[in-house]
Amino acid sequence: MSGTFLGMPSLPVFGIGNLHEHEPFPKAARRELGNTQLRANLGHATRTIRDKRLAVVSELPDWEELREAGRAIKESVMARLPELLEQFEANFTARGGTIHWARDAGEANAIVASLIREQGADEVVKVKSMATQEIGLNEYLEEQGIAAFETDLAELIVQLDHDKPSHILVPAIHKNRSQVRDIFLREMEGVDPELTNEPARLAAAARAHLRRKFLSAKVAVSGANFALADSGTLAVVESEGNGRMCLTLPETLITVMGVEKLLPAWEDLEVFMQLLPRSSTGERMNPYTSLWTGVTPDDGPQNVHLVLLDNGRSAALADEMGRSALHCIRCSACMNVCPVYERTGGHAYGSTYPGPIGAILSPLLTGITAEENNSLPYASSLCGACYDACPVKINIPDILVHLRGEDVDSKRGKRGKRGRERLPSQMDLGMKAASWALSSGKNLGLVEKALPLGRIAAGPDKKITKLPGIAAGWTQSRDIPAPPAQSFRQWWDKEHRAPAAPTDPTGTGDAGTGNAGTGSAGTEENP
């Protein structure tokens, strides 16, 4: 059993791997927005899944109670994580499984490769797993001369096309049927040259292509959706049967799983197996779920391994405001309801984890200052749709705001909690100026004297299309109307100084507030 932490608090150790935005989100988003095929497919996909999800969720009278139970279970898992990990390890090991611990992506990759080599294998079959994508396992194995075959249809399409997944649930959603056919004709050995673009024919081609691989594979690599601490049981949720093939046929099974995937007990599965399928594919239940506990003599793989992965999870856990991001069960509901994701798609987020959850999870795992990940918490309008959809009630908007604060802190002269020393930025100077201006009426009056200057800057069309410095971000996608000739305060002063001025503010407010309204361009909604 693990006791309370008594040692020296260590600094968070962040994760590495496919977790980074390589350019600022707005830049990536602008490029992706130009891909009209992607936008059309994504729009169709997110709408369809959204509607299906709503239908099956509204069918359950106790959906909110299930969500609340799910949230509480995950919260207790995080609070008891060391103890539950030790319990899981003891049970999994007692039933013939072997546990490996990996501090980061590199260590996990090396463990998997050496386990494969021990079996004398130079190829493996894989069932879709975000953890292995996060650590870049396929690329690593390729360097080591080991071929990894993705067996999920969408992952297969993406892999054959040397592309990246764009959606965690339907990774090839950015390709239409004709593109898929072309990829198969080009990349699949021995494929029927008469192959049409009918989805059923394409699925049959994938079945034929992978069948030999499944039946002869010596080693499989999988992820896991859940791990039960009280029994050492692992679960994989899937649709096509490729998961069952990987988990049943090969002699050796290597599973890679983040440490946060634990559930305390068997009865907790009844909550999550109601929440996950309905939130994810909008089905009452997914076609196949497999459960295994270590080794079962005479049934399935006899050489069973689990790699428990940290890779920044402990760092995310150390963030009291952000740790609930680790409750995520990767259902993708938040993506399908997100107005930003619906338009930009998954590639714009850079990381393995896209959409609203990616916008918080990636910077939590890597640290806010890693590469361009500090742009991710801004990839949101804070509309809150993700929070409403999330089956485990992760308050994504709150964490986004918290991470924006971390980002600002990290750029400020003051040392951010998770950041490093920096010079005062434009933002700091701007904030300082604002705080001076707003601190007294006199100061504000001085600033308002400058309003007519803004009118000159706006020119005859009364629009400011380009602001300087960091304010340029604001005008990238919108114009600012010219400021009014006078401020509301100036107008009020003038109207109320004369003794004869009427005292009914509602009677005179029209013209004046209209003017003042255009002055505060920041509140204007843009299409």
Binding site: S2, T4, F5, G7, P9, V13, N41, H44, A45, T48, D62, A69, A72, I73, S76, M78, A79, R80, P82, L85, R103, D152, L153, V170, P171, A172, P199, A200, A203, A206, R207, L210, R211, F214, S231, S239, E240, G241, R244, M245, L247, W266, E267, E270, M273, Q274, E283, R284, M285, N286, Y288, S290, L291, T296, D299, G300, S314, A315, L317, E320
Partner: protein, 212 residues
Amino acid sequence: MNAREEILDRIRSALRDAPAVPDVPRDYRRSSTLGEEELIELLTDRLVDYKANVFIEEAAAVPQRLAVLLEGAGRYAIPHGLDQALFAEADARDGGSRRVTDAPGHRLSVEELDRVDAVVTGSAVAVAETGTIVLDASPDQGRRVISLVPDRHICIVRARDITAILPEALRRLDGTRPQTWISGPSATSDIELERVEGVHGPRTLDVVIVRG
């Protein structure tokens, strides 16, 4: 420090604010009151929605039903624990020559399983609300591989094993047995979200629900 110690240490350090362990409110439905006929009806509705074929039979009529279902098939596999009497009708037609049995000491290889047209198994429990059938590798259901490789799965579900909701079903199961939860034939919606039945798992699922 080895990786295990270091990771556990990092996690303990991350939790040094000692977050409270909340009580888990289990206010969701945990039991139900549906009768056998309602359960059969609900399960059938869900399975048909998944494009499974459903046959509801009295116990005495099952051998006849199996014989009909197996008519078009060449060889078929069964697990050793499945009641041989279920195949009396089929045997009357072919003398049992098409049947291969997976038994301890006589395991069917993957190649042999790949050559049979169908597999017949029992089941451990079913969930009506979600259209889910659970196999737990008991002797009448067999090793996981036998219900996976053949292209057609004929699954026998006893009415008394049907529960209304998932929590009821899980209470009847031992989580440490290897389990396969099956909700319809294998399917994918990976190409333009158009659902296609049958990728790698059995492309046809026939469910025989046995009353009484």
